[in-house]
Amino acid sequence: MLKTSPFHPRTSALVRAQTWRRWAGYQMASAYDPHPDREYAAIRNAAALIDVSPLYKYRITGPGAARLLDRMITRDMAKLKAGQVYYTPWCDAEGKVIDDGTVTRLSESAYRLTSADSSLRWLHLNAVGLSVEIEDISERTAALSIQGPLSRDILSRATGADLASLKYFRMIETAVRGIPVAVSRTGYTGDLGYEIWVDAARAVPLWDALIEAGTPFGVTPAGVWALDIARIEAGLIMMDVDYFSSHHALIEARKSSPYEINLGWAVSPDKGPFNGRRALAAERARGAAWGFVGLEISWDSFERLFAARGLPPQISNVAWRVSVPVYKDGRQVGYATSGCWSPLLKKSLALAHLRAPHFKPGSPVKVEVTVEHRRELADAVVRKLPFFDPERKKA
């Protein structure tokens, strides 16, 4: 049997079309409605409630906790203040990305790490010689994401806390109807939003409280399909979709460095020793071989390809996750790994790996599209990520 989330008693009653999917060994809703349009709209227009409990979560405490995380991640732990959250990748000794996630400094010497894949063994391998305690709290801790322009109003009402002063990538501890929760201003949508961390045993009452507080604001439970569109618009990568964990990659060519997946900004080369430092310094010096960028597929070109077959352009309301070749001057220069039609931007978007030097913003490329059983090439332009970056995200 697959695992079910602590919110399952509530979410399972809402999945109208039995559209379930797997996420890290859990059975999760792809969408509650038969299609995700309304759920996606809630993320950008009101507020969506998204169950993100399948994330792996670890509590790391003790005098060596900061050292352990500093060895592991590419960002500088010395600069992480209590109540602050980092988004960061971590690498193997060759500087290839194993996973990406968040590190939250809960207090002076307590941290929470979230990851897409199980990281317990990797934490232990890196903890050798350090006085540190590593607890896998994945199943004990439920996580609920509330995302969208009205998320602050709803959460302020539910917690009574001063969320206006909670800055982007900061965390506070508060309570919802007496249920202790940690609230971080983080998310996977690129919008104003929060993630709420709660004891799994109290997940259901938390859900009920947020639905009740949020209903006047149009809060809408949303599934993975809606989240997937939002994260592509926000240019946020997904492990084993947009890049392969170096722990999973069967061949070297499938591995990526942080520089190759647009996470160079999260590498602090000048901090103390960390996994992959030497390799990353060398790569920085010579320049990354690949860039990870956005592609905006020309609507006119797309429409023409369909018109040539007597068809209107066909777009899906679900994001795609297959590798698609990208060409320049008749030669393949890379591949796109996920993409979607953005209902908000009214553009066809993709996330792509392109070889140097073809990843400069504004460069014209061509993307393979299949039109009526035939492979065609649509015009596209390289864009800097994210595609969508509203002021409210950080304001």
Binding site: L2, K3, G25, D136, H247, H248, L250
Partner: protein
């Protein structure tokens, strides 16, 4: 001498002999297979041991059968149909269990119950073993080059191999070196902490070999079993519809379709040799049949010291064959059951009964089982690999009834005082009693019990000392050393006399690679 004359005679209708015959016939050679028993298959036979109950009497699961053979001979057309064997469940002594399911998420969740770290490690370990199997795979499909030889072909082969190993990169090369030299227990200790997991994984490292999990060299056997692939996926094990005899039948079907003749009840007494050249065979009946090529699918001891007069062979070769280790170490218990066993750790019917149940609760358990064997006794508490084929293929038993196949280790060939009927039954009792610790109702279900010791395996199939691999899969008798250096390329010193059994590279299991490579060598040599 009968008038009929053949291009090639294959001695022994085991699966390697049949594969060799099929390839020879496919190349247009007039080929005859001679099998002593009334049925073909060797150790891959299905027999109705008890009315209505069919057993894969000896070899019982399949994974290693080479995909190129399946394609070349179009075996599915001739009846090959492999059904999935999806899980392995190890009952533990405390009443709990360790399960590995076909679904990775379910397996991960199960492993997390015992050790979350091992669950993480299993992913990385699986990837490494995949690479190791990839690294060794080309070797399975090549005639082993002799590193001591300077012939252009050997050098070319070595060069190819060297290039291949260099391309592995240091991490994988080191891992391969460790696998080649370490014990499976030590190797698995580097990865895992949960004892039952290590024990169950290491069990594949001892199968058919007179080694314990703590004996150096057992890690390689582990890899040998990892190399099995079904439809391109490594580490996949399956069950042939109708039992392993149906695999032999499918190969025989392909051989016949290409024009090969197969005679059963035709035991070969000796190979006829004239002026250092094989000219045919003499049957036990006295009949003589002429052929320009004779290939033995029997094991090295029979091939070199029984079918031909050792006087025809160089002394060092005969000496090498005498030193070649068989030491059968496993037995088989086949049960006809009136119903399903009820395992304490997973009561009632369930998916676990469609997979393997492994009696391997700890490394120490396995090592103690080996200790008994080291000093000439069968294990009082043996390692057992149990499947219920009738759960996967209902045709194996009458409706509602079942057949159970129990592979048992250790049962030494050279048991103290020799194998007697009484000792065989005592061995069968030890197996059932051990199983009853985990499935208490087993004794009340038994309608019929067939117990096979290495002595019985030798008596029935001819396999020397009852070794199921035609000789141990130990490093000193693998690759260019199998069965002996200089004669590891399927030839023998007698012109026109060849070997194609599992006693040649790459060795045991229902793999067929020896038969194929031998046939290709013979065709190369004669064209």
């Amino acid at each position: 001498m009968s008038r009929e004359r053949y291009d090639a005679i294959v001695i022994g209708g085991g699966h390697n002999g049949l594969v060799a015959a099929a390839y020879l016939a496919r190349a247009g050679r007039k080929t005859l297979v001679l099998e002593r028993r009334p049925m073909i298959g060797g150790a891959a036979v299905t027999e109705e041991v008890f009315p209505g109950f069919k057993f894969s009497v000896f070899s019982y699961v399949v994974s290693l059968l080479r995909p190129e053979i399946i394609r070349d001979l179009d075996l599915p057309k001739h009846g090959l149909q492999i059904l999935p064997l999806e899980s392995t469940v190890t009952p533990l002594e405390n009443g709990d269990y360790l399960a590995s399911w076909s679904d990775p998420d379910e397996t991960r969740r199960e492993l997390c119950r015992h050790s979350p770290r091992d669950a993480d490690a299993a992913v990385v370990f699986g990837r490494l073993m995949h690479h190791m199997a990839m690294a060794v795979r080309p070797i399975l499909g090549m005639v082993p080059p002799d590193p001591a030889s300077l012939s252009p072909r050997d050098l070319a082969g070595l060069l190819k191999l060297g290039g291949h190993f260099r391309s592995l990169g240091p991490e994988r090369f080191h891992a391969l070196h460790k696998l080649m030299t370490m014990s499976s227990a030590d190797y698995l200790d580097e990865w895992f902490e949960f004892d039952a997991l290590k024990a169950t994984k290491s069990a594949s490292g001892i199968i058919g070999t007179f080694l314990g999990p703590r004996s150096p060299g057992s890690a390689y056997v582990l890899l040998h079993h990892y190399m099995g692939e079904i439809d391109g996926a490594f580490r996949a094990w399956g069950f042939q519809k109708g039992g392993t005899g149906a695999i032999s039948d499918s190969i025989a079907g392909a051989a016949r379709a290409h024009g090969a003749e197969i005679r059963t009840g035709a035991g070969v007494e000796r190979v006829l040799v004239k002026n250092g050249r094989a000219t045919g065979v003499a049957l036990s009946s006295g009949e003589e049949i002429a052929a320009s090529l004779v290939v033995s699918g029997l094991d090295p001891r029979l091939t070199f010291t029984r079918l031909v007069d050792p006087k025809e062979l160089p002394g060092p070769l005969v000496e090498g064959i005498r030193r070649y280790k068989f030491r059968g170490s496993s037995g088989k218990v086949n049960l006809a059951l009136s119903g399903l066993p009820n395992f304490t750790c997973m009561p009632g019917e369930g998916p676990h009964l469609r997979g393997a149940m492994s009696i391997s609760p700890s490394i120490e358990y396995l090592e103690r089982a080996y200790d008994d064997a080291k000093y000439g006794e069968f294990s009082r508490h043996p390692y057992m690999d149990i499947v219920i084929p009738s759960m996967i293929d209902p045709g194996m038993a009458p409706p509602g009834k079942h057949v159970m196949s129990i592979f048992v280790q250790y049962a030494p060939y050279a048991v103290n005082g020799g194998w007697t009927d009484a000792k065989r039954e005592a061995f069968g009792d030890a197996v059932v009693k051990t199983l009853a610790r985990y499935a208490p109702n087993i004794e009340s279900l038994i309608l019929h019990r067939q117990v096979l010791t290495p002595h019985d395996i030798e008596r029935i199939t001819g396999l020397t000392e009852g070794n199921i691999f035609q000789g141990e899969l130990a490093l000193q008798q693998l690759f260019f050393l199998r069965p002996v250096p200089e004669w590891a390329k399927y030839r023998t010193p007698i012109h026109g006399y060849w070997q194609c059994g599992a006693g040649t590279h790459p060795g045991g299991g229902i793999m067929g690679a020896s038969g194929r490579l031998a046939a290709l060598e013979m065709l190369r040599g004669s064209s």
